[in-house]
Amino acid sequence: MSELLQVRDLHVKFVTPDRTVNAVNGVSFDVKRGETLGILGESGSGKSVTLRSILRLHPEHRTRWGGSIKLEGDEVLTMGKSALSDLRGQRVAMIFQEPATAFDPVFTIGHQIAETVRRHTGKGEADSWSRARELLEMVRIPSPAQRLKAYPHEMSGGMRQRAMIALALSCNPALLLADEPTTALDATVQIQVLLLIRELQREFNVGVIFVTHDIGVAVEVSDRIGVMYAGKIVELAPVEQMVDAPRHPYSRGLLASTVHDGMRGQRLEAIPGAPPDLAEVPTGCSFAPRCKFVQPNCIVRPPDLREMGGSHLVRCVLADVQEAGVAA
């Protein structure tokens, strides 16, 4: 598998006259074709900001970027307008949390999908409509021919999310970005959409970055999981290793504090405190104020991302010590 996307030392800063937010503070990862990278984080961890940076969706005049985002070798952060326009929708597509607001309410679903197909592939009117129909069939929308004529408000939430997936895949993108696409859906519908994404990902051999706050969802869809905290990836590992042996105190805390089967009556291991304010660039480890293993050198400088073997990366000064502890 070849590297599809390379993100290196990405920094994203939002600057307004009143304040500055250091939303992303040095994020690096790769995505291959046919692979799903889950990015797990709580609100304000920078997971969505990272994702949107790949399409440069942030307002240009108050966003400062640093580092590099390369899609199949092309640098996204310095891309010109027309290249960026080809990138969006054609090479990289995105699905959002709220499909009701992602569609234009005054056009039918079929119109919006066919328009996208026409715009990016140069197909004629009739061809693009028949492609739209195929796409709706592919995402298993019942009676697709009729649904083409439906307006977004005439569909249920799950149906709209399927239609958005159809729209996203309409131009055979190489990379699909998913920003909490199942969070607003009901449980019985969520699992249907997750399975659909997994299946289409294999069929289209597309790279997927799946951003979520829900560990269960991340485990269900991802090959690898990156855990973000305060604008940094603190741990990145294949999904089995992340679930079985999380190394970073934050990932461990997150897994331990997530309620699941058989925890009734036990006290939950909550992580004390709250995430930091992102106005200041952190001088040490951002998690140090909430960490129960904190040491003096955690506060001095931010820890590096260390390779733990088996492509397991951890950003914690204790990673080696723990390994020694496990070995002994």
Partner: protein
């Protein structure tokens, strides 16, 4: 700290704290010619439930199933079309019973949106003292109660009492909302998706706190959530709703260990697995929940049920007690005519 303990129990431990019978709420939908359409959303349909003293009753279901409408009916934020309520032996809003105001003192509610539920122009202390003062508590005692309340929910009074809601994080604001719900020494607290908007690490802090408060103050909870794991963690009994109806009701062990209704089973197996080696292979049921404006005839789940038969279209299944739990499914009613039901 005993200023926060609920007022004395009256009917004894065996008497249900809250008993609701035949609650119904239909919302008319405007539309049609001159807005005279007769369509209604059947949000809650003839629902009866009882809440025992000291228990936590979990309510689960998907969006539009009516779980929040139930909460609002129980605290009379909306008036039921039909149905009666009895709070510890006292009928509510009836000649010889208690008034709605008294009900709302004894039953309090915490909402999902921690910011929208606080007045942005009042400090935390003012918010917490508001109801006690309105109920005639002298200012000095109200101040003392505010300190007790903040202590109880783990916020240092010296640090937080004079802050405004926007100066707090989501988790801290939800602690304030819980403190406010406790300000009038209620007996029953309805938590409507109260931890759903919180991050996982903060959610765990608030759940631990809810467990502690319940024991310390002898509270009873109705815990409404779409998160089945959290409901399992907190509840003694669980009520499963689908399109305005109870489909199953029983102890947490029975509902999670041996679910009987096909919908409950689907809901439980739709949970993500948390084990990458045993991922979900197939969705337990297809499609979305239907629109509550025109719910299916007979059993409301039949349009998505893999076992639906003719009888399910014609007859609405009663909520039948089967010993460990109550379930509304023709397959569990003897002689219902369903091929999987026992014959008499």
């Amino acid at each position: 700290m005993d200023s926060l303990l609920p007022l004395e129990d009256r009917g004894g431990p065996a008497q249900p704290l809250l008993l609701a019978t035949g609650l119904r709420k239909h919302f008319p939908v405007a539309g049609g010619l001159l807005g005279r359409s007769r369509k209604v959303v059947r949000a809650v349909d003839d629902l009866s439930l009882s809440v025992a003293k000291g228990e936590t009753l979990g309510v689960v279901g998907e969006s539009g199933c009516g779980k929040s409408t139930v909460a609002r009916l129980l605290i009379r934020l909306i008036k039921p079309d039909r149905g009666t309520m009895v709070l510890d032996g006292d009928p509510v809003d009836e000649p010889h019973g208690i008034t709605v105001n008294e009900l709302r003192r004894q039953v309090q509610m915490v909402f999902q949106d921690s910011y929208a539920s606080l007045n942005p122009r009042l400090t935390i202390a003012e918010t917490l003292a508001f109801a006690p003062k309105a109920h005639g508590l002298p200012a000095a005692e109200a101040r003392a109660r505010v300190r007790d309340l903040l202590d109880k929910v783990g916020l240092d009074p010296a640090n937080y009492a004079e802050r405004y809601p926007h100066e707090l994080s989501g988790g801290q604001r939800q602690r304030v909302n819980i403190a406010r719900a406790l300000a009038l020494r209620p007996r029953l607290v309805i938590l409507d998706e109260a931890v759903s908007a919180l991050d996982k690490s903060v959610e765990a802090q608030v759940l631990n706190m809810l467990v502690d408060l319940k024991t310390e103050l002898g509270l009873t909870y109705i815990f409404i959530s779409h998160d089945l794991n959290v409901v399992q963690y907190l509840s003694d009994r669980v009520l499963v709703m689908y399109l305005g109806k109870i489909v199953e009701l029983g102890s947490v062990e029975a509902i999670y260990g041996n679910p009987q209704h096909p919908y409950t089973r689907a809901l439980l197996s739709a949970r993500p697995s948390m084990d990458p080696r045993r991922r979900t292979k197939e969705a337990p049921i297809q499609g979305d929940p239907p629109n509550p404006i025109d719910p299916p005839s007979g059993c409301r789940f039949r349009t998505r049920c893999p076992f639906a038969e003719d009888v399910c279209t014609r007859v609405e299944p009663p909520l039948a007690d089967i010993g460990t739990q109550a379930v509304a499914c023709h397959m569990r009613v003897v002689g219902s005519g369903h091929s999987k039901a026992a014959t008499p």
